[in-house]
Symmetry: C2
DNA sequence: TGTACATCAGTGAACGCGCGTTCACTGATGTAC
DNA sequence: TGTACATCAGTGAACGCGCGTTCACTGATGTAC
């Protein structure tokens, strides 16, 4: 119950929530420290400046997202040995995960940063770029394994299909937020699953 | 050559460029008026406050986007009478349009607003919500026409498929920006076209 | 076991800058009679 | 055709607040000898 979190972690938790709902620029250090119950100087003990907060925030976020993806697709692989079917199961699990979030997915930090480029230093933008590439390669590996067994029914570039997974998630989050319907994200992932099935299944 | 634009329109042009690249909060009125070559008071002659700028910006943006979509799908319909084929042509035209933008699509204002909700008043957020609904209904109408002729090969909700078009565009923009590869957006639209074709074509 | 020093996790007060907003005023153009 | 007034499209100076950042200092805990 009374799990002791370090103030540093508290700062990151509070900052993440605020940044995802308002953007990075609109999240002031004053607000963060008020919620974390420390003084502003306490903040600067943990982070040299606001950009360092951004870097730490993004790094932590990417690690947890990666862990979630690892978990989902590993579980899917245990449920079915076939690469196509386990991938389809993985997408279903991912959709369920997104559906179960009480107030919808809070939003993606990668998109937040992409949409306010000029606010961040080169370092942060480069980490963000790498994150997309890592996802691209993760899914590309899985798709190549599938395509080796099930020749695609349309002439598509597998790298582009790999990007589609990130793209669908990012797009689904934007729509969910804009329209105020959390379920939209899960629906879009299910639809992506429909495409993968049509693309690789025998007619 | 020397087309006279009103200062008001200049303000909107400059603001749009800046907001799309840096976000709304990070775009100061000082920067805008410096570029527009007026004083700050001149800005407040045209807009009561910054929120009114946001509303005007969004309304103008949505009108031009709507006009583009009208144009693309009307042209497509002239090229082919069949609803499925003209829709596929429309998506191709859309992809080409996105590809031809010199530095990639500048980013979608709807997403910018979705990602910094708390900065805008209820009015602006509601206009944003309506924009997504309008797109949803536009595409749903086209898809129903298609489905009446070509029964879908997978059990999908057409409203969700309609959302997928917006979602793919929003997601493609996020990816393009994050990874710094403008072509990604066009690729994603082409992939969406692949899905539509597989979904409605006879096996 | 006691003392000296180092590190950790902050505090408190102050800084200067940039921001959105206000307000009284102004020169140029348009309209009524 | 001339005068009076109204509207348009701004100007210039000032405002106060909130922001990120700095800096000297501090009490509690850890470590060496």
């Amino acid at each position: 119950m009374t799990k002791v979190k370090s103030k540093r972690e508290m700062i990151l938790d509070i900052a993440e929530t605020n940044v995802l709902s308002k953007g990075f620029g609109a999240t002031s250090i004053d607000e963060i420290v008020a919620e974390a119950d420390i003084t502003k100087s306490g903040f600067f003990y943990h982070f040299r400046d606001k950009n360092e907060l951004a870097r730490a925030l993004l790094q932590r976020y990417l690690e947890t997202e990666d862990a979630i993806l690892d978990d989902v697709f590993n579980r899917a692989r245990e449920l079915h040995g076939d690469p196509l079917h386990s991938f389809l199961i993985g997408l279903k699990l991912l959709a369920e995960l997104m559906e179960d979030l009480p107030n919808g997915h809070p939003g993606c930090l990668v998109a937040t940063i992409a949409y306010s480029e000029r606010m961040f230093d080169r370092d942060v933008r480069e980490i963000n770029r790498r994150a997309i590439i890592v996802w691209r390669e993760r899914f590309l590996g899985m798709l190549e394994e599938i395509a080796a067994l099930y020749p695609p029914r349309d002439d598509v570039d597998l790298r582009t299909v790999a990007d589609m997974i990130s793209s669908m998630v990012e797009g689904g989050i934007v729509l969910s937020r804009a329209v105020g319907e959390p379920k939209v994200l899960a629906e879009q992932i299910v639809l992506l699953r429909s495409y993968i099935r049509l693309l690789f299944s025998a007619p």
